[in-house]
């Protein structure tokens, strides 16, 4: 069975290789090939899953050693895979949702002449992400991590003829690099501390390292997670990443990429458990990001950017849960999976709306679309109910548990975190209701564009609606299925460990308050966008709204602090370089130049003067020799 693990990665990797190197002759079958290979990977995943279910909880982990990557004395890096329950969860999510997105892309990218290449990149993305979650050591994980960064760069900038897309891809890549630095430093620290970077030895021996080292490793891992998962302060790339084709957004936001940070923190749980300080920082980052994303999501008129804010916020929930330790890991992953379903569904729905509206993304120019796109409306609606945590749907089960765990943190912290998560839930309800009302309800607000083309909203083709329907099923039932008999907790417990949290208020009260804040959020959005017609031109808005429209000034902050600061730093360094370093170097060069200018006068071209120097030299040599003899 363990020999199948490599095949999980090999299938999409083969697809990427064939599609990217195969050339034009594959144009006609490329999209099918890519989809079939992604599906093949999913089938292998299901086979392994079925096999895993047949074994006891502790014996489920599989290992496959492929070959020694860097066999050096004292430094052993292997291409080796580990498939335990945590990796399995990710494998099924990545390949399952990934395959659905492949199918969707067949329809969505139908008129794009570079569709083959697009599928090649999608396959590459899947392969890199699978490598990331299947690696059995941090170095191989880092390889997958970088692969994900590369694939996201290629996909976000897929429409590179648009300068905005090219810039967004560059931005995503650069911001991610900051996080990647964190990961590489963490790996170096691990190697110097433990002498290895395989998961098993490192995570078992966290007690041997000093507190400072463990906290350092934890914070560096958190920095890495912030980069990939778009958490404050490395969140700025996520909104711009919407420049990529919509299936890419769905893939990045649901199945791959942003989940990598949560995976990293959960996988390194032992390190964070050993360092309460690092855990506290993780929780704070999660809490700040979940409000940050939610506030940004409330103000955006671009449907994809509103959803991007929502992703940031939901990942914030997961990071927060992961920072809570054993009471939260399981729920972080559970929310990740349910979020994978509904967020993929929402993005595919948004793509379907754009497909029918001539690629218009401004929600103020939608309105009343439920009549024109019934399937999209229903699937999007179910995703909407799931994300706001409507009782009974997926998001309810996972988010409610996170809120409960936040309260269970205990003390003042517990109350603050609980309040933040509840506030986040209210904001989620508000901004998602806003998206829903502006898109599907109210009067039609679209107008002919400058060339007089009026959009004719229509339902998308089957290849696009079927994945949306499947994801809608996941959005509705996944959470309940996971919570039934605590099956998800039991499934992950052997890997991540689990403790029951004890919130200071009863679980029923938490659930009740979740529902109350949900209703408040929905009600507020209804009063603002349901009762009154939505203005086509965005009103000026309050100071907070205007700030949120500019992503809460994140780019301005980065510009002022990092770009300007960097410029000043480089200018002063250039000045030092010009005056001090160049002064020394140029001064030396000039003095040698002057000296040689004088010395070259000796080369006067007269053969006789050369002869004099020869004779003179010989005479001196002879005289010296004789003198030495005499002494």
């Amino acid at each position: 069975m363990e020999n199948l693990i490599a095949l999980l990665i090999a299938a999409p990797l083969l697809g990427a290789g064939l599609l990217l190197c195969g050339g034009r002759r594959l144009d006609r079958v490329g999209h099918l090939l890519g989809t079939v290979l992604a599906a093949a990977s999913f089938v292998i995943g299901v086979v392994l899953f079925a096999d895993m279910l047949g074994k006891g909880g502790e014996e489920r982990a599989l290992h496959q050693h492929l070959f020694s990557w860097v066999p050096v004395e004292g430094f052993q890096a292997d291409i080796a895979f580990q498939l335990d329950q945590l990796s399995m969860t990710f494998v099924l999510l990545i390949t399952g949702v990934g395959t659905l997105i492949h199918i969707y892309s067949i329809g969505y990218m139908e008129h794009d002449e570079r569709r083959r290449r697009f599928f090649g990149y999608l396959n590459l993305f899947l392969a890199a992400m699978l490598l990331l979650v299947l690696a059995d050591n941090y170095l191989l994980l880092y390889f997958g991590w970088e692969g994900v960064g590369l694939a996201s760069y290629l996909l976000i900038g897929f429409w590179q003829h648009k300068p905005s897309a090219a810039t967004a891809a560059k931005k995503a890549f650069l911001v991610n690099r900051v996080g990647d630095m964190g990961l590489s430093i963490a790996i170096m620290l691990m190697f110097t501390t433990f002498g290895t970077f395989a998961f098993g030895p490192v995570l078992e021996s966290t007690g041997e390292a000093s507190d400072g080292t463990i906290t350092g490793i934890g914070l560096m891992l958190l920095l890495a997670a912030c980069g990939k998962s778009a958490q404050v302060p490395l969140q700025s790339w996520l909104g711009d990443a919407m420049e990529g084709p919509t299936p890419v957004s769905a893939l990045i936001h649901a199945a791959t990429m942003v989940t990598a940070g949560v995976y990293l923190i959960t996988r390194s749980g032992a390190i964070f458990n050993a360092s309460p300080d690092a855990q506290l920082v993780v929780v704070v980052v999660g809490a700040v990001t979940l409000l940050f994303g939610a506030i940004v999501g409330c103000a955006k008129d671009d449907i994809k950017k509103a959803l991007a804010g929502s992703t940031m916020s939901q990942i914030g929930y997961m990071i927060l849960a992961a920072g809570l330790g054993p009471i939260g890991y399981v729920f972080a992953i559970m929310h990740l999976v349910t979020h994978g379903f509904f967020k993929a569904g929402l993005f595919l729905g948004a793509g379907s709306v754009m497909h029918g509206m001539n690629d218009e993304v401004d929600m103020r120019k939608y309105g009343g679309l439920r009549k024109y796109m019934p399937v999209t409306f229903v699937t999007f609606g179910l995703g909407y109910l799931a994300i706001i945590g409507f009782p009974g749907l997926s998001g309810f089960w996972s988010k409610d548990k996170i809120i409960e765990a936040a309260f269970a943190k205990g003390g003042t912290e517990g109350w603050i975190l609980g309040a933040v998560t509840l506030l986040g839930a209210a904001l989620t309800a508000y901004y998602m209701t806003r998206v829903m009302l502006m898109t599907f309800f109210g009067e039609k607000r679209w107008q002919p564009d400058a060339e007089g083309n009026e959009p004719h909203p229509h339902e998308s083709p089957k290849s696009m609606t079927i994945p949306m329907i499947v994801l809608a099923f996941g959005s509705v039932f996944a959470g309940g299925l996971f919570s039934l008999n605590e099956s998800f907790v039991k499934w992950l417990e052997p890997v991540t460990a689990f403790e029951h949290g004890h919130p200071p208020i009863s679980a029923g009260a938490v659930t009740a308050s979740t529902v109350v804040v949900l209703l408040i959020g929905v009600g507020a959005a209804y009063l603002q966008y349901g009762r009154k017609p939505v203005p086509v031109i965005a009103p000026r808005g309050s100071l907070l709204t205007r700030a949120a429209r500019r992503d809460l000034l994140q780019d301005d902050f980065n510009h002022v602090v990092l770009v300007r600061g960097g410029e000043h730093l480089t200018r002063s360094l250039v000045y030092v370089d010009h005056t001090l370093v160049d002064g020394v170097v140029n001064g030396t060069a000039a003095s040698f130049g002057g000296l040689s200018g004088r010395l070259r006068k000796l080369q006067n071209g007269y053969a006789r003067s050369y002869a004099v120097s020869m004779f003179g030299g010989t005479a001196v040599l002879i005289a010296a020799t004789l003198l030495m003899r005499a002494v």
Binding site: R600, Q603, N604, G605, Y606, A607, R608, A611, V612, F615
Partner: protein, 99 residues
């Protein structure tokens, strides 16, 4: 006759040759002075050969002659072509090889 006298003669001839190389401007004369220095060396070699009672010095003298013959061929050719192009055989006129 005392062989040391031949060494005095060789030193005298070498000095004359060297002085000629340094002082004279005419390339032909400079050239002949070089030959004079070579022959002074040859004389010294032969004298040493006689003094030490072996043939090493004589053999080296033959080598010197062969080298001198070859040098004459090349050197004269250079001087002739120099004279043809400049109508002068002065070594100071050919002073273009400088910075």
């Amino acid at each position: 006759m005392n062989p040391v006298n031949y060494l005095y003669l060789a030193a005298l001839l070498f000095t004359i040759g060297a002085a000629g190389v340094l002082i004279r401007r005419n390339a032909i004369v400079v050239f002949m002075c070089v030959e004079l220095m070579l022959n002074a060396c040859n004389l010294a070699f032969v004298a040493f050969s006689r003094m030490h009672g072996n043939l090493d010095g004589q053999i080296i003298a033959f080598f010197t002659m062969v080298v001198a013959a070859a040098e004459v061929v090349v050197g004269l050719a250079i001087i002739v072509s120099l004279f043809r192009s400049r109508h002068s055989a002065s070594v100071d006129d050919a002073s273009l090889m400088k910075l």
